[in-house]
Symmetry: C2
Subunit: 366 residues, 2 copies
């Protein structure tokens, strides 16, 4: 198989250091071989991805002499729950898999989060490999080891930190990705620019229409820059004691939107997009960024074909969902805000009235 | 409250170092106060223990000004499953608990394993405190951080390593403990002697009848020696890459017995007791220990009022359950055997025929 330009990034986590390979039409077997120790490999995927790519990865792993099993889950965030997690355990035990097996996640963020959590818990921890097939999972869930499932009362409330052995981000899989999913991935890419890289924001402003159109080379560059940014933060703060929390820009507001609408109505990236507008809006009300800068935030999000307002949600309910967010410490809500454009901070002493206004100002009341 | 003789043991795990306080009628509030950071404390217990000790611990924690919630599960190993784990998550989210909360396990091994696993997974990890109320959990599950739940296809197949902030082993709780449960705890205590401490075996042979009769001072000494032994091993090998696997003496056989009979029919300690007889029997067939030493193993187990034979189980089924055990690596069964009395090793090159004989010779075929 022809190997195109490939970039390699290492996430530096001591003895759990691992590489991310980024490119198009990667040589799967060659890249995976050094990172799968035992013989048993369980591919966890969903029905949509299975129909497109399961054969390719099954063949590659069988070519490596692995004992292969598969667990195909239904496609969608609404299945990211304890009942479907149990199906992965059923498959692992049904296949007689042992402590030296590898769980390979083939799919987007939902599959990565569930397969990773299963790998963290099965026999108290087995090997894990990630093949993210969506833009969002390539830049977000494939770096940093956060895994988990949702609970009816909150998103990602149950989970573990689990680092993979290796991540393969094959951009050619984006050719089959739904336009709406592509935009959802761009939301997280914009996030890295807003929270810590003004140069990257300028680059995105230059290239957004080509990215939306699916230019694989530009997307690869955007993935590399995003992953490099996240990898630096994660290496410094794996368990989110400090700096890593910056990566939650837009997420506390976004989680409230997702939770209220019901998982699966809005894509995660779409909710984060509107959440970032709310965070930027509150930052403006704090006097930290200007109206022009807020407009610049809204503009790049809008050009990525992402929502800059959410449906009308009663404020009391919006706040209740926010208070279930993991960023609440000792009952005190902490938000990631923009101290300036390209520099986020974690802040708890904001004016609550300003926060209410920032939420209400960015709801679609028509 | 009068404070009796108390011994303190530290489990040395770097920044996760924690103390175990062992004594009778411990001053709960005073001992817990330095180890509970946040305001929110969820006591996880079962119906049996709740009726005996919940008020005592609730009062102590309320006296410390904590926001208290409780989750009372039904009593028994058969509830150590994903459905009842979910009840703990429901309680935590229902109470609005955050990332800085503490989950306190008040009960035996099942409660400790489930509450610990919930603490490991809730919001990807919150604080955990253990108050083991059975002899078995005082010497076993309270040291070493292994937590988890059962799956219909195998015991403890889903779990995590989660270290507590502190462990309170109050021997006075053993006064209300069922005799059969006390013996089950003695099985694990005998295990420490057999696998690595011949002096301790001699001590147990001197005191077994007093231990069975519930002498709290002698039991405290046995708990201290057992925990110290386990703490040394766990400090050297937290994630069970090597030496820690020695602690599984009797467990691979025992898990097969428990799985075949159905969880909850035999107590864990009872299954381990017969499992240790099988491991010792195989060790004799290997020529490592003598018939007299095997008899000494059977004798101390018998004096602890524990079973030295199990019901008749078809060999094929026994072996199938053994192969689901976590000690299987790359399809190769590894057993903990006795190289000599008081010194266990992990071994995989045993004669399979010998293993079959060791299983069959210790079944009750009458």
């Amino acid at each position: 198989m022809a190997q195109h330009l490939m970039q390699t990034l290492h996430v530096e986590l001591g003895d759990r250091r691992y590489p991310i390979f980024i490119g198009s039409e990667l040589d799967t077997a060659q890249l995976l071989a050094p990172y799968i120790q035992g013989k048993q490999v369980m591919i966890v995927t969903n029905t949509t991805v299975a129909s497109l790519y399961l054969d390719q990865y099954s063949s590659a792993l069988q070519g490596l002499g692995k004992d292969l099993a598969t667990c195909v889950l239904p496609d969608g965030e609404k299945y990211k729950n304890i009942e479907h997690l149990q199906l992965i355990f059923d498959a692992l035990l049904g296949a007689g898999f042992n402590r030296d097996c590898t769980v390979l996640a083939l799919g987007g963020g939902v599959i990565g989060d569930m397969a990773g959590f299963a790998a963290a818990c099965f026999q108290r921890g087995v090997y894990f490999v990630q093949v993210p097939t969506t833009l969002l999972s390539q830049v977000d869930s494939s770096v940093g080891g956060k895994t988990g499932i949702n609970h009816p009362l909150g998103k990602n409330m149950i989970g573990a930190f689990k680092q993979p052995q290796v991540v393969l981000a094959d951009m050619s899989h984006l050719k089959t990705l739904d336009k709406r999913e592509l935009s959802a991935g761009l939301a997280e890419i914009i996030k890295y620019a807003l929270l810590g890289d003004l140069d990257f924001l300028v680059w995105l402003e230059q290239h957004m229409e080509q990215l939306v159109a699916g230019d694989l080379n530009l997307l690869a560059e955007a993935v590399y820059r995003s992953c490099a940014h996240k990898a630096r933060i994660v290496a410094a703060d794996e368990k989110e004691q400090g700096e890593r929390a910056l990566l939650n820009l837009g997420h506390t507001f976004g989680h409230a939107i997702e939770s209220y609408l019901g998982y699966g109505q809005w894509l995660h990236g779409e909710a984060v997009a509107t959440g970032m507008v709310m965070a930027a809006d509150l930052s403006m009300r704090m006097g930290w960024i200007s109206q022009a800068e807020l407009d610049r935030v809204k503009n790049i999000i809008n050009r990525a074909q992402l929502p800059i307002t959410c449906p009308a949600i009663p404020l009391t309910e919006f706040l209740a969902y926010m208070s279930h967010d993991k960023k609440v410490l000792n009952g005190q809500l902490r938000l990631v805000l923009l101290k300036r454009l390209g520099q986020a901070i974690i802040y708890k002493d904001f004016d609550v009235e300003h926060m209410h206004q920032a939420i209400l100002a960015n709801q679609n009341l028509s």
